[in-house]
Each structure stands twice: as structure tokens, then as C-alpha cells.
Amino acid sequence: MRAPGPGEIKVGEVLLAVEDVSLAFGGVKAIADVSFDIRKGEIRAIIGPNGAGKTSMLNVINGFYQPQQGSITFKGATRDKMRPYEAARGGIARTFQNVALFRGMTALDNIMAGRTLKMHRNFFWQLLRFGPAMAEEITHRRRAEEIIDFLEINHIRRVQVGRLPYGLQKRVELGRALAMEPDLLLLDEPMAGMNLEEKEDMSRFILDVNNHYGTTIALIEHDMGVVMDLSDRVVVLDYGRKIADGTPDAVKRDPAVIDAYLGVAH
């Protein structure tokens, strides 16, 4: 991990903060006045019962949904709406609950697609392919192969992702997100539908990404064991509101959290 440059956010400082964000679809309020922050270098878990607004929260951070109210501060810059392109360019990458891979392409192509923002050779070189465009392809192919090695998906790099089993698809999706070399990685239920071994693998990858690349991670997860083991801090949502925020141990013991999960009316 290299030292941060001048003006850059240092490890431990706030990388992203959402303030008083509210989001509604028609009459349904998905998020109501939620504020929390994510510090650089940490693994932040967002948990809560189903329908709590967790995925919507990630969508807001990503720029996919625009909140009616509130602001998002990312890398020191505050804005009331994020656009998908700004988020991607700013260094936010994401995986999805229902694997949003490009099904017509191979695993390798999907990961190379993640490198798009970093490829600059203009249209006319692309027409020729040999020369600067090819050199750029090879450079980025190397980076993609590093990610493929890291995620242990060498054997399926040329397989069309639509044909892959669910667990491998999730891994390829993680690879595509990593290809963007993000500062903030948003993972939406990365362990969903996995068996114990797959979960252990995925946990290992997440920890490695955080340690090795220094990537800040925000993840939504239902498996409490994973949340407790992996995360540095946890924020709990219920019915669109924040009901707890702190270390895993503190949150685990919080009576409001226990009530929410047990379905006690409140």
C-alpha cells in the first residue's frame, strides 16, 4: 500500500459520508433520513432485515437512484446527487445481488470490460488494432490476468459467463469490480446462495482485497457470522431508518437490533 498523496484521504479518515438521505418510490419510502460514514481502509457492513433499504442505499451511493433529500460526500466533494458515471470515475465499483454480468461475453471479457475507464487509446487506433491499441490491450490484459489469478478463475476465463454456476459468476463479478481499481468497493450480498466452502473462499478474497489492495469495502450481508468476522464497523437499517451504528460487538448486543431481527413491533 502506498502512502497517500497530498490532499488525498488518509487511512482512517472519512472516505464517503451520506447525510440525511431520503429516498422514496411513489408513496413507498425506501430510505428515511439516514446518515453514516465509511472510513478509508475499513470494511463496513450494512445489515438489516429484508426490505430495510440496504440495496437502495448502495444504489444511492452508486448514483443509480437519486435521493429526494440529503447529500453524499465522497473524497471531500459534497453533492446532492451522484451520477453513475461520476461514481465509476471517482473510484466506486460494485457487485449486485442478482449478478449483473454481461452474459454474452466470456469471463475474461467481462473483467476486461471493467478496465474500460482506464483505456484511453482513441477510436482511430482502435480501427487499426496493431500498434498503440494493441499495446494498451496487452497492458490491461496483464492486470486482468493478475485479478484472474487472485480470484482463482483461470480455468473459466474463456467460458461465456451465462454458462457458469452461480458461485463462479459472483467471483467473476467481483473480478470485474476489482478491474476498476476502485477506492470504494460496494458488495451487495456477496455470499448469497453459497455453501460453506464458497463462503470461506469469498471471505478470504474480501479480506485480501482489503489488505492487499487497500480497498475500502462496504458490504451488505445477511450471514451474521461473516459480518462479525469480517467487518470493522456495522450500520444497521430497518424500515429505511438507521437503528444502530458501531463495532460488530456493540451492534450485536444492541436491543433495538435484536428487536428488529426478531420482528418485534416497534
Binding site: 458515471y85 465499483a93 449483473a100 454474452g104 476486461m112 482502435q126 480501427l127 496487452i138
Partner: protein
């Protein structure tokens, strides 16, 4: 056993990313090019070259154009005929204005006009998706077709509305017009089509192709990894219309020798769409295969019955062709939506493991 890649190790990414990594494929392409450049001009008769090879190449080019837009980027377009027409009429006006300029250069230049028109009619694609976009392309088709018959400036105010191609030479050899031989025209078309196919291949194998396919497969996710949707879609429209425009110019200048406004009608759009669907959406080789099938089929339908002694009129043969094409579309969509190209790939796969079953 015959068609193997074992023993052919790739020691560099460049080698691995080659378009034809397998040696036998490379030999195959060399053979095809040899046949195209050498064998056919030498051995083929005028009918073969004029009635089969030249239009086959031209329509393959149009099919590649549409394939880039519909097969690779997922934007259904019913305006192919119109865009081809823009290229043809642009070329006509250009050569009337600059009679001394090399006609082949003007054919390529007219593609640029087509590209510009394509971008204009592609602008709605930011807001509109799927079928609705297809209707926008229909607007383009009908409007452009109307222009070809109602804007007299386009056809130099001729009374009939038809245009005739003037004599143009390249290095002293007549390339267009009544005196141009079939072989000359064939070479001109062949060179242009081969070059443009190579360029298309470069595009789809690199960054641009990946961006297009990302937009096709899931445009929301494409946006979230930083792809700018409008720019990518407009690039697709531009490149696709460029190819269709050049194909249109070639059609009029190096094959028909003239044109009436009805040449670039909606049926032309459908014809190219059928080529793309049957050949394989998202496959350059498929564009050639689809063009071959759709184009050769009517010829076969017309020549086969007399050979077999069946008394079928030309009109009946045409009706039967319509029926067969329609049925083929449905059949392919049911059996192999990825078209002839996929069948070809499956065949190659079988060759790889032959004589073993898998």
C-alpha cells in the same frame, strides 16, 4: 483430429489475443482470400461474378453494418435501407460535384454522410429502448425514402426520379458506368469489403467492441462500470451507418449502375435484417453466411425448377422464396438463435474431437 490446437502454445498475450489463434483457421482464411482474389476472377464467368459474387460481397458489408448495431450493441434497426440510400445518393452528388476525384475514395467518403445521418437518428436512443427505438428507425427509413423520391436536388432534377451512374475510371481503367467490366468492379468491391471487414474485426475485438456488447447485455451495469451510454450507442450508429452507406454506394455504383427511389425501401431493411439474424447476431462471419443464404436462395429458387423440369413461373418461385425465408427465420430462431455462425462453430468443435464424440 483434423482440427486441433494442441501443440500450439501461446507464449505471449498478443498471440493469445489473435483473431485466428488456431493455425488451421489461419490457413483457412488464406485459402479463402486466395480463392477470392485469384481463383474467382480467373475461373469465374461473368454471370457468376456479376450476379452472385459482387452483390454477395456488397450485402455482406451491409449485413456487417447492421450486425454491429443490432448484434453487437443490441439496438434493433429497421432503417438499414434508408442508410444505404444515403450513401448511394451522397456518392452520386459527390461525384457530380467532383468528377475528377477517385470514385472509390468518394464511395468511402459517402459513408461519412451516412454516418452523420445515422447519428442524428440514433440520438433518441438515449431515452428510448428496444421496440420503441425500432420505431424511431422506421421513422428514419420512411423519411429517408421520401427524400429520395421527393427532394429533386438529390437526383439532379431528373424527371423520372432515377439516377444513372456516370463513367468513372481508376488508373485509366473504367470502374463504373456501362463500360466497366465485371472483373474490374469485382476487384474494387472485393478490396473495399476485405479492408472494411478487417477494420470491423479490429473494432469488435478491442475496447469498442466490449463497450458495445456491455451495452447490449446490460446497459445499467455498463453505466455503472463507467461506460457512457449515449456516446457508445452513437458510435455504434455512426459506424453501422457508415458501413451501410458504403454498401449502398457500392450497390448503385458498382453493381446496378443506377437507382430508382424504391431501391432503398423497407423491404431492403428487412432483407438485411434477415441476413443478420440467420447468419448470427454478433458474428462477422455470420454476416457473410447470412448474406450468402438470403442472396443465393432466390437464385437457386429461380434456376432449380427448370433444371429439375418442374414448371414453376418466376412469380411462383418468388412467392415460394418468401415463404422459405420466413420459415427459415422462425426455424433458426427456434433451433439456433445464434444463427449459422454458431452452427459453424459447433461443426468446428466436432472436427476438433473427431473421431471421438466429445
Amino acid at each position: 483430429m483434423l482440427y486441433r490446437e494442441s501443440g500450439q502454445y501461446k507464449t505471449s498475450y498478443a498471440a493469445d489475443m489473435a483473431v485466428f489463434p488456431i493455425l488451421l483457421d489461419r490457413i483457412g482464411i488464406a485459402v479463402i482470400l486466395a480463392v477470392a482474389f485469384v481463383l474467382i476472377p480467373l475461373a469465374g464467368n461473368d454471370f457468376l461474378i456479376n450476379a452472385v459474387m459482387i452483390p454477395f460481397l456488397i450485402f455482406s458489408l451491409a449485413a456487417i453494418g447492421l450486425n454491429l448495431l443490432t448484434g453487437y450493441t443490441g439496438l434493433l434497426s429497421l432503417g438499414t435501407g434508408g442508410f444505404m440510400g444515403v450513401g448511394a445518393y451522397a456518392c452520386y452528388k459527390l461525384t457530380a460535384a467532383f468528377p475528377g476525384v477517385n470514385i472509390l475514395f468518394l464511395v468511402i467518403a459517402s459513408g461519412a454522410f451516412s454516418a452523420a445521418v445515422g447519428v442524428v437518428f440514433g440520438l433518441p436512443s438515449l431515452r428510448i429502448k428496444g421496440f420503441y427505438l425500432a420505431v424511431a428507425t422506421l421513422a428514419a427509413q420512411f423519411f429517408l425514402q421520401w427524400c429520395f423520391s421527393r427532394v429533386p436536388w438529390l437526383f439532379n432534377y431528373s424527371v423520372s426520379g432515377a439516377i444513372e451512374v456516370p463513367l468513372r475510371t481508376v488508373f485509366g481503367v473504367p470502374v463504373t458506368g456501362p463500360t466497366a467490366t465485371a472483373t474490374t468492379r469485382y476487384f474494387a468491391v472485393l478490396c473495399i469489403v476485405v479492408a472494411m471487414t478487417w477494420i470491423a474485426s479490429n473494432l469488435v475485438h478491442g475496447r469498442i467492441g466490449r463497450m458495445w456488447m456491455s451495452v447490449r447485455d446490460m446497459d445499467i451495469a455498463a453505466e455503472l462500470i463507467g461506460i457512457r451510454l449515449l456516446r457508445t450507442k452513437l458510435t455504434a450508429f455512426a459506424v453501422s451507418s457508415f458501413y451501410c452507406g458504403v454498401a449502398g454506394a457500392l450497390l448503385v455504383f458498382l453493381w446496378y449502375g443506377g437507382a430508382e427511389p424504391d431501391v432503398f425501401d423497407i423491404n431492403q431493411s428487412f432483407q438485411v435484417l434477415f441476413m443478420v439474424v440467420i447468419g448470427g447476431l454478433g458474428s462477422l462471419i455470420g454476416s457473410f453466411m447470412g448474406a450468402a443464404l438470403i442472396f443465393v436462395l432466390p437464385i437457386v429458387m429461380r434456376s432449380l425448377p427448370p433444371l429439375l423440369g418442374l414448371p414453376i413461373t418466376a412469380a411462383t418461385a418468388e412467392h415460394l422464396t418468401f415463404m422459405i425465408v420466413g420459415a427459415l427465420i422462425v426455424l433458426f430462431l427456434v433451433v439456433e438463435p445464434a444463427g449459422l455462425a454458431r452452427l459453424w462453430q459447433i461443426g468446428k468443435q466436432k472436427l476438433r474431437v473427431w473421431p471421438f464424440p466429445y
